[in-house]
Amino acid sequence: MIKEYIENWSGEVNTLVIGATPEEGGSRRFSVKIGGERTLPFLFKEALLPFKPVIAYEIWDIEPIDWATALSKYYGDVWGNTLEWADKLIREYKAELLCLKLAGAHPEIGKDLDEIVKLLEGLLKKVDIPLIIIGCGDVQRDNFILPLCSQILKNERCLIGEVNQDNYKTLTAAVLADGHSIIAQSPIDINIAKQLNILISDMGLPLERIVINPTVGALGYGLEYTYSIMERLRLAALNNDRVVASPFICFVGQESWRVKEATTPEKEFSRWGSEWRRGYLWELITAGALLQAGANILVMRHPKAIEKIKEYIDKLYEFKIN
């Protein structure tokens, strides 16, 4: 019999905790741990993969009017009210991690700063699970709003983002002061991902508090390119390059639900079949592939896709031996 080949990696992915319990100075009921892998995804025979990948439900601070009808079927009743939306996710869908995108802060929508502050304070009271907070994508506005969010959520050990190579200083300083972790976004580029981590850690934020968003594409939209970048980063981490040993966050929902294959109604393309099924499958398959690439946090939208991917993760973890 041929002996099974076991690779002995010298490095490991950083372990990162999201959410702080009362004992830890926060107000979350529990915290979520990610990372810590000492080998490539799901090779349980090879080395330790201590923590399961986690799913974060994506919610917005405003009504996401351009979300697909396949999604409004589930959330349409609550998504005018972010707090109720969050509540429903926790109660009905057993969400353990929320990813709040402050889309309303964008200058084009121009949501009032007071409203955002009020929303965050409300969320902090209403919801007791760990939080991820994402800006609106407008650099100037994010640099103004996100440090404020960081302050409001002080000691809750959130994951806040995103920063990129041209704009990382303001938020890094805020996150450093308030005890959160940061999302470092790079444009599908292994070098820029590494450079950004160096820049952030040069400012004093420990590497252990960085999550990399490698930028992903949906199935059929450059997924394989994303995949190989993630794989290369992970291989570098396992070869003991500490600078890139960060866990990955992948915005699966956002990418999957903007491709025409996920949303075009059946009546326009009868051969494509029902959009109700097609949409969530698109998100599910994208998520599945990214898990194999090494994703640690999947930010997703469709409850059914999330349910299935959780089952998939659980099944894979049945092989866990250590």
Binding site: D189, K194, Q195
Partner: protein, 643 residues
């Protein structure tokens, strides 16, 4: 189409131009060369002009300050003619013309350079001495007049006398010379001076003149760079360099790099304009130098050019299009000797033009000259030649093999495409020290005169010092906010190197984040090309024994700082040898020695060209090098903890 008159001041030159054309093209038509590093795209902001009178249309540009806009400044490339105009071209918008310091010339000629301060041991860069045999020699001959016993023809008589002095197998003479020979010999009482030129394997009688002019025989060696043209006037009899000049290549107005020039040259009239721009520049250098030395143009008998293949194609007005198209083939690498006058170069009308042979479409005679002058082709250990110019050329090898490549680096280290950049000449900030917290910036200029700008070696020092003091982060962005030396502009920050009072200008001398970005790209291209080439040959940088550094840096280059920014590999300082403008040195050797020309031809055949653009690892290496000193700090182990 309506036409309008545009008059330029202070030149008082008027040109008629169609409505809607840009002021930049009007200036070109008037023979006025305005800075335009971006090739007229409105990006570089160097083509500022002042409108005195007339109507124009213009596009908004962040490159003009409010102050400038108030005083009727416009960018010549973005502004079109809508009526008769009067336009003033300020000095800073013109392509400049500079004289090299005499000491610098002397150093160049000897082949020794003032040792860069941080290098401990100086080594001779040339130990092979080529036999003095200029490519054009003059010979004074007193012929025995013919008589009934010696009835050899005039021409054969001339050959016979030449051969009495030199063992020359084949001699050629063109019809023009033969036609005038009969009268000339008899009218000059059989006393003539013959100019012999080496045309490939053949010796040619270039010129027959009455009387003895053999004491006056001069030639020009040129290094034709994408951004800079350097020329030297050499006394071919005694090998003395009489003077040197450097100017920015006027082709810059048509684009900053070889690719944009090739594209421009493929358009209608484009080739013609590029050709004239380079020949004009060379003629200016020739005129200036011969006037200064009071030399008769007729006694300048040859010109030798070293340049990259694109430059040589454009000089000779050869279609450059195919250099850029796969599989990247030049029309000619080995250019036969021709008459300089055929290209419009003004020396003796029958004088010769030699071009150093090139290797491939992007590795030219300038690099062959560099290899020749640094002598790496004789070394036993592995050597590296890094020529830091608009194209960064790298040659790796020793006496057994030579392989070279070329990477497009941009002209930043030549002082172009950066806001206060300039050539390494008088007034250029060349050495900089930034004290902790940037409380003070100490600098010295070439010639110790008030600062006018910053040259390549100055930029290397500045970047390294900014990194070490923490003014910039490792991606090159300015980190600090409130500091007397840091100013926030509309789109970026800038750092003041010299306050207005310390300069010769009306403004502070600054480095902007865009400048840093351009310098970073240049250094990344050069470092990536070096690593790819070394890896391709299955070597490790550590195995390299000597690194020759060439480039227009004047006489100073701080190796440690160049390593800190990741331009040069992290090797011990003793391995680095700074050779300055190796292309010009090589060119002058060849001009003075036919033997050196033969060596250059051998080298051009010997160097193997490695095409970076088809090597997939180059882009990867380049991206990784876009960081200070490098994304992978393990490649710079000795710098750990310094940044």
């Amino acid at each position: 189409m309506e036409k309008f008159k545009v008059t330029f001041y202070p030149d008082h030159k008027t040109v008629e131009i169609q409505k809607g054309q840009s002021i930049l093209s009007a200036a070109l038509a008037a023979g006025i060369y305005i800075n335009s590093n971006c090739g007229g795209e409105g990006i570089c902001g160097r083509c500022k002009i002042i409108l005195r009178k007339g109507e124009v249309f213009t596009q908004p540009s962040g490159r003009l300050s409010w102050e400038e806009r108030k005083h009727n400044y416009y960018l010549a490339c973005l502004t079109t003619v809508q009526s008769d105009l009067e336009v003033e071209v300020p000095e800073e918008s013109r392509l400049s013309f500079e004289k090299l310091a005499v000491e610098e010339i002397a150093l160049r000629f000897k082949g020794f350079y003032e040792k860069p301060e941080s290098i401990e041991t100086t080594q001779s860069i040339l130990d092979e001495v080529f036999v003095h045999s200029p490519l054009a020699t003059k010979l004074y001959i007193e012929l025995p007049p013919p008589n009934l016993n010696d009835r050899v023809s005039d021409l054969e008589r001339l050959y016979r006398e030449i051969r009495k002095r030199h063992e020359i197998p084949i001699i050629q003479t063109c019809l023009t010379n033969i036609r005038s020979l009969g009268h000339l010999l008899r009218n000059s009482d059989w006393k003539v001076t013959v100019t012999l030129g080496k045309r490939d394997g053949v010796v040619e009688i270039v010129l027959v003149e009455p009387n003895n002019t053999s004491l006056h025989n001069y030639g020009f060696a040129f290094d034709i760079g994408t951004t800079t043209i350097c020329g030297e006037l050499i006394d071919l009899n005694n090998k003395k360099i009489l003077g040197a000049r450097a100017i920015y290549n006027k082709q810059t107005v048509f684009g900053p790099d070889v690719i944009t020039r090739i594209i421009y040259g493929s358009q209608a009239d484009g080739l013609e304009k590029l050709h004239h721009a380079v020949v004009d520049g060379m003629n200016e250098i020739i005129q200036e130098l011969i006037q200064e030395e009071k030399i008769d143009l007729n006694n300048v008998t040859c010109v030798l050019c070293a340049g990259n293949p694109t430059m040589i194609h454009l000089l000779l007005k050869i279609e450059p299009t195919y250099l850029r198209r796969e599989p990247y083939i030049p029309v000619a690498n080995f250019i036969p000797t021709i008459r300089a006058s055929e290209t419009g170069i003004k020396i003796n009308p029958r004088g010769l033009l030699f071009c150093l042979p090139g290797v491939s479409s992007y590795l030219g005679g300038d690099i062959v000259a560099g290899v020749l002058s640094c002598g790496m082709y004789k070394e036993e250990g592995i050597c590296l030649l890094i020529d830091i110019g608009t194209n960064g050329e790298i040659v790796l090898g020793n006496r057994d093999f030579l392989v070279g490549c070329s990477a497009s680096a941009g002209p930043a280290f030549e002082g172009s495409g950066v806001n206060y950049g300039m050539r390494a000449s008088g007034g250029a900030i060349q050495k900089v020290k930034i004290l902790p917290n940037a409380d003070k910036v100490e600098f010295s200029t070439i010639g110790n005169i008030p600062a006018r700008g910053i040259c390549g070696s100055g930029y290397i020092d500045i970047l390294a010092q900014m990194l070490m003091t923490g003014v910039i982060d490792r991606s090159g962005k300015i980190r600090w906010e409130d500091h007397p030396r840091i100013k926030q502009r509309e789109l970026e920050k800038e750092f003041i190197i010299a306050f207005k009072e310390e300069t010769n200008l009306d403004s502070d001398i600054v480095i902007t984040e865009t400048d840093i970005e351009n310098l970073k790209r240049a250094k990344a291209a050069i470092f990536a090309a070096t690593s790819v080439l070394v890896k391709h040959m299955n070597l490790d940088l550590k195995q390299i024994e000597k690194v020759f550094i060439a480039g227009g840096f004047g006489s100073y280059l701080n190796i440690q700082n160049a390593k800190l920014i990741g331009l040069l590999p992290d090797l011990e300082e003793r391995r680095f040898i700074f050779v300055g403008n190796s292309s010009l040195i090589g060119a002058s050797y060849v001009l003075l020695s036919h033997q050196a020309m033969q060596r250059a031809e051998e080298l051009a055949h010997k160097i193997t060209y490695f095409e970076l653009s088809v090597d997939h690892s180059y882009m990867e290496e380049y991206m990784a090098a876009l960081f200070f000193p490098h994304t992978d700090i393990s490649r710079f182990p000795n710098l750990k903890g310094m940044i």
